[in-house]
């Protein structure tokens, strides 16, 4: 017995000597070096991203250092783009978007003579990520625009009749353009937060209509009355675990995502589940609870930003 172990030991040393030929360190130390060589985290991340990710989630942490239900730091600035009638700059971690709203006057649709227009568009320019190309909006950008559009229309955030100037003659058009500056995942949350906050920041001039001519006062004072203030929260699902606010690297690996958009009373505005396999009902209810918590956080940031924008 003893001879075999000795043999093994000698064998080990020679092997290690070959690998770490420079070092004249002890047996145990050389052993450590060998294991370090095999588990090279960076190469595993490149070759087996999912496996790499699983190693972290087994320890209840994510590769970016966040715990599962932690959202990234979120900031909001209102009214910083002075050429727009209302604007919001949102940063969620490294993801940053700017939403500017331009108000113009147009003739209403014949079928809906009292309704104004609300036109949200999300622009994912090639500036914000190496994966986007110049040219017409990508599929992702189109889906995002449509999602935001549906949210605003179906959950009646702003009554379109409040945009009426003169029935059948003139209505307000609000162009809500979201421009992405830096794309690091979870663009939907950022876009919704930016659009809704920018809408709350819009100040319209007093307006008079006479003989087909619309005249406005130079100072802008009239606020829009938003009937609901929806904010969104996105979660990625990985092996039944809920990971809040996925960043770009996580979005590439994890296909399954749940987005919950709720309003100030905790009522749902929209629930989106995309990709991956089936989720249990418990997952949904946990997500809903987390989304409500997230809402209160976003709502505090929103209120702080509104007061600081009003005082300036």
């Amino acid at each position: 017995m003893s001879s075999t172990t000795e043999n093994n030991n000698t064998k080990y040393t020679t092997e290690n000597d070959q690998i770490t030929s420079k070092s004249d360190e002890g047996n145990s130390n050389a052993n450590k070096k060998e294991t370090k060589f095999i588990v090279d985290a960076d190469s595993i991340r490149r070759i087996q991203p999912l496996e790499y990710f699983r190693h972290f989630t087994d320890q209840k942490i994510r590769p970016n250092g966040r715990v599962f239900n932690r959202f990234r730091k979120t900031t909001l600035h209102l009214g910083s783009v002075t050429t727009a009638d209302g604007s919001a700059v949102v940063r969620i971690g490294n993801t940053s978007v700017v939403c500017g709203i331009k108000a113009e006057v147009a003739e209403p649709n014949v079928n809906t003579p009292r309704e104004g227009y609300l036109v949200p568009n999300v622009e994912l320019s090639p500036m914000c990520s190496p994966n986007f190309k110049p040219g017409p909006p990508s599929e992702l950008a189109q889906v995002l625009s449509e999602t935001v559009n549906k949210l605003l229309k179906s959950s009646s955030v702003l009554s379109l009749e409040s945009l009426c100037i003169e029935e059948g003659k003139a209505v307000w058009v609000l162009y809500c353009d979201v421009v992405c500056i830096n794309y690091d995942g979870n663009i939907l949350d950022a876009s919704v937060y930016a659009v809704v906050s920018a809408l709350s920041n819009v100040r319209l001039p007093k307006i008079t209509y006479a003989d087909g001519i619309v005249k406005a006062t130079p100072d802008k004072t009239i606020e829009l009355s938003l009937s609901r203030i929806p904010f969104s929260a996105t979660f990625a699902i990985f092996n039944g675990e809920i990971l809040a606010d996925p960043d770009e690297t996580e979005e590439v690996i994890l296909e399954e995502r749940i987005t919950i958009i709720c309003d100030e009373e905790g009522q749902l505005c929209s629930v989106l589940k995309s990709g991956g396999s089936s989720s249990t009902r418990e997952t949904f209810s946990t997500c809903l609870e987390l989304a409500r918590n997230r809402y209160s956080v976003l709502s505090t940031i929103f209120k702080e930003a509104s007061t600081s924008a009003n005082t300036n």
């Binding site: 783009v81 002075t82 050429t83 727009a84 604007s87 490294n94 940053s96 700017v98 500017g100 709203i101 331009k102 113009e104 006057v105 147009a106 003739e107 209403p108 649709n109 227009y117 036109v119 949200p120 568009n121 622009e123 320019s125 090639p126 500036m127 914000c128 990520s129 190496p130 110049p134 017409p136 909006p137 189109q142 625009s145 449509e146 559009n149 058009v173 162009y175 353009d177 421009v179 500056i181 830096n182 794309y183 690091d184 001039p205 307006i207 008079t208 001519i213 619309v214 005249k215 406005a216 006062t217 130079p218 770009e248």
Partner: protein, 277 residues
């Protein structure tokens, strides 16, 4: 019609702004006082307060954000990456694109590309190309994307784009002969006004945008338009080079600061790793 975006009404206009009589006088308030102090409190030969931040776009190889009060520009540089064209070229290519955000101007801009953006993109290329060592980068492309978030002066937009792109290129670690700083000037009533706002530009008879490499004392690009006499132009160039040198020192300081911050971050991380090991 653009089917890939949410459609609005076919046509829309800005409402006519009607001013009360007593406000009229305020609207046509003079651009400057008798002592040559402009409305924003600076003299004719001063640039606006600048704020410059490299490295704000983490997804890009290099980036910069610049603000001249009302003019706000973000720029990202990607590359050098492999050229998509299969033909061999011994020199790298520089691809510049300027885009206005739809809400950046007085009137809403359509998100589709317009001729002005094309023109500005080309001018940006012309101003930068002489400074970048493209001969060191065969078979590769450098993409420079600029988004103008707020426009307060067309000349200053171009100047800010050139300055931001130059900082972003340096931030991406792309070899250059020197940093390119740019400055705009207008000619109003036989006087030279540096770095004009949109309102001042409305009164300009002529304008000039100058791109200048301070250390080499070389001009990479100059664009003069409108009615300026020859001697006036030469004086404007002199004043612009002075202003460019000021901008150049701001660029240098900001880049140095960002490198210092990066090194400090690396050091603290390295320290942490050592402790863990």
């Amino acid at each position: 019609m653009d089917r890939r975006r949410i459609p609005g009404p076919e046509a829309s206009v800005k409402p006519i702004i009607e001013r009360a009589d007593d406000e009229d006088t305020q609207h046509v308030a003079p651009l400057k006082t008798i002592d040559d102090i402009r409305q924003d409190g600076r003299s004719l030969d001063k640039i606006r307060k600048a704020w410059l931040a490299p490295g704000i776009i983490t997804q890009a190889n290099g980036s910069a954000y610049i603000e001249f009060q009302g003019t706000k520009v973000a720029c990202a540089v990607y590359g050098p990456r492999a050229t998509k064209i299969s033909a061999f070229s011994g020199k790298g290519s520089l691809n510049c694109e300027i885009k206005f955000a739809p809400f950046s101007c007085q009137k809403r801009r359509s998100p589709q590309r317009d001729p002005q953006e094309k023109e500005l993109s080309h001018l940006l290329f012309e101003a930068l190309a002489p400074a970048v060592r493209l001969d060191l980068l065969p078979k590769s492309t450098i993409d420079v994307f600029v988004t103008i978030l707020q426009n307060d002066g067309n000349g200053s937009c171009l100047a800010a784009s050139i300055t931001a792109a130059s900082v972003a290129l340096a931030d991406a670690g792309i070899e250059m002969l020197d940093q390119v700083a740019a400055c705009s000037a207008c000619y109003i009533d036989d006087e030279i006004w540096i770095d004009c706002t949109l309102r001042e530009e409305e009164h300009a008879q002529g304008s000039l945008v100058l791109s200048y490499m301070s250390s080499l004392n070389e001009i990479t690009h100059m664009l003069q338009s409108g009615e300026i006499s020859v001697s006036g132009t030469i004086r404007t160039i002199e004043q612009c080079t002075e202003a460019c040198s000021k901008i150049y020192s701001i660029m240098g300081n900001c880049l140095l600061e960002s490198v210092r911050r990066k090194l400090e971050k690396d050091n603290t991380l390295g320290g942490l790793n050592k402790k863990e090991g």
